[in-house]
């Protein structure tokens, strides 16, 4: 496969790596749940791009297997995001916070249950 | 190179020109409303020209029909989006009521207030 690496595949490979790195970096440094979800989605997009680039990097017909996997991945990513956003709404209702901060928010949830 | 291709190329390039004009308007115009004005009109004309280019040299009629549908739906989306964005901007007080303005005025004085005047001033 290495001899058939064309420059545009290389470009997208680097893009995939950069997007994943940026997403991971953002996930590590953000505390707000909504932003963390964005960064997780960015990381997912980076992985998708990597899969497709590696599958189609050589000449010839594009590999359908990674395409099918990424297709299911896109649908699962949006479902997981929807679930996470529902969790976020519930968390916000219970703790009146949109961040995950272990000690303080556990207290808040405890208070909400005690009421 | 046949005349059809020449016409198609001209259509594509002029469409590109309208997109660039829209972007210049987006970057240079002073407030939301004039930016909306520049963008929605110029871009949809550009989209039409870009749709018309490939449609010129296309034999099957259904492909040209699809391009036409794309353009019409683009018009609809731009109209509704422009309306909704402008409506929300008006609601949020980015435009002064115009009753006090003289009816025939040069654009510079009767454009809606820009961020420099009321919108940002009252936020501080």
């Amino acid at each position: 496969m290495n001899d058939a690496l064309n420059p545009s595949a290389l470009i997208y490979l680097l893009t995939a790596a950069a997007v994943f790195g940026i997403g991971l970096h953002g996930l590590l440094q953000s505390r707000q749940i909504l932003r963390q979800l964005l960064t997780i989605n960015l990381m997912g997009s980076g992985i998708f791009l990597l899969l497709i680039t590696l599958g189609g990097g050589s000449d010839g017909p594009p590999d359908p297997v990674p395409q099918a996997m990424v297709l299911t991945g896109i649908v699962i990513a949006v479902s997981a995001t929807g679930f996470a956003l529902a969790l976020l709404l519930r968390w916000h209702e219970l703790s009146d916070s949109t961040e995950l901060d272990a000690v303080a928010d556990a207290d808040a949830v405890q208070d909400a249950h005690d009421e | 190179m046949n005349p059809q291709e020449v016409i198609a190329s001209l259509l594509l390039l002029s469409g590109c020109l309208f997109f660039i004009a829209g972007t210049i308007g987006l970057l240079r115009f002073p407030d939301v409303f004039s930016r909306l004005h520049a963008l929605t009109k110029a871009d949809n004309l550009g989209l039409f020209l870009i749709c018309a280019g490939p449609a010129m040299r296309r034999e099957p009629l259904c492909s040209a029909g699809l391009l036409l549908i794309v353009w019409m739906l683009g018009l609809l989306a731009a109209t509704v989006s422009c309306h909704l964005i402008a409506r929300r901007a008006v609601r949020s007080g980015q435009m002064e009521p115009r009753a006090s303005e003289p009816p025939a005025c040069v654009p510079r004085t009767c454009v809606p207030r820009t961020c420099a005047s009321r919108t940002c001033a009252s936020r501080t």
Partner: protein, 327 residues
């Protein structure tokens, strides 16, 4: 689906322009990802992410993956953006401005190594993968060789419903599980319309709905039908149908109900039930499990999957047990 290159005499120059397109696209994608992570304003970050989705779809197009471009267009441009903006709206309606935290950001000496290390990790994985000797008989090549056995000429559909049907079945189960989870946590949310303005008095919204919703149904059916021999299929069609439903929710035509109706229950499990039944029936008649016996079976399963995916995504968007027509 086979990538046809331009075989024209002046091949060099268009190829170089194509490379330029790739470079601009890649730079814009990376810049958008950076802005999504770095912007202080959360609304700006969400919008950057939506635009990121638009450009990803162009990238799929450049990578000869129109199936993915279709899915990304329906989901990235339609559902994800609306989902994020509506969640933000709900948080604000509860009287909470989801501003960024007061916590100081991590120090630079900690941030730069994490970012650089993460990129280098992925880049090295990519390089290793590229340096691997090409082994004959990858799954994709086998799929291309045996695509005639399945009966559809779109290789992605063939992989989804023929060669790797387990994956597709389990994916449907995962999507359903995501909704069940959302239902479990959202059960105490107030039913009713989304917080926000009523659209009844906005004149253009009615016109938009009366055109876009029927067209979304039409396009969903078209994509399902095209999925056999051209890009398209149940996932893309389901996402388009779901986008139409999301539009109805957004404009207040549909509101959250406290109960799941009988029809919704049927539609939710339809994909799983039809797919499993078809697979089991094949097994009962002597074939391998989930080896669908022909084109009609594939279309039957795909139709069921499309309906299930669409209803599940709309219900996930509404974060509600069910939907009802606005009174």
């Amino acid at each position: 689906m086979r990538a046809p290159d331009m075989r024209v005499p002046d091949m060099r120059v268009p190829d170089m322009i194509g490379l330029g397109i790739d470079a601009v696209l890649a730079l814009a994608i990376v810049w958008l990802a950076l802005q999504t992570v770095r912007s202080r304003d959360l609304f700006k970050a969400m919008l950057m992410f939506v635009v990121f989705g638009l450009l990803m779809s162009l990238a799929w197009a450049r990578l000869h993956a129109p199936d993915l471009a279709l899915a990304e267009a329906a989901i990235g441009a339609g559902i994800t953006g609306a989902l994020l903006l509506v969640t933000w709206r709900r948080l604000q309606a509860d009287g909470h401005e989801p501003a960024d935290s007061e916590h100081p950001p991590l120090p630079l000496w900690l941030r730069l190594p994490t970012a650089g290390g993460a990129s280098m990790l992925v880049a090295s994985i990519g390089w290793v993968a590229l340096e691997l000797p090409a082994t004959p008989g990858t799954a994709g090549e086998l799929a291309w060789q045996r695509i005639d056995d399945i009966g559809v000429s779109n290789p992605v559909t063939a992989v989804l419903l023929g060669f790797r049907a387990y994956d597709t079945l389990l994916e449907m189960a995962v999507v359903l599980a995501a909704w069940l989870g959302a239902r479990a946590v959202a059960i105490e949310l107030r039913p009713g319309a989304l917080p926000g303005p009523a659209y009844a008095e906005v004149p253009l919204v009615g016109a938009l709905l009366s055109l876009v919703v029927p067209i979304s149904i039409l396009v969903a059916v078209y994509l399902l039908q095209a999925g056999g021999n051209a890009p398209g299929g149940a996932f893309q069609g389901g996402a388009v149908l779901a986008a139409g439903g999301v539009l109805l929710c957004l404009t207040g035509r549909l509101e959250a109900a406290a109960q799941t109706s009988g029809l919704e229950r049927v539609l939710l499990v339809l994909g799983l039930v039809v797919f499993s039944l078809a697979g089991l029936l094949v097994m009962a008649s002597g074939g391998a499990m989930l080896a669908l016996p022909g084109l009609w079976a594939i279309y039957l399963v795909e139709t069921a999957l499309l309906l299930s995916i669409a209803i599940t995504l709309v219900l996930l968007f509404a974060a509600a047990p069910g939907l009802r027509r606005a009174s």
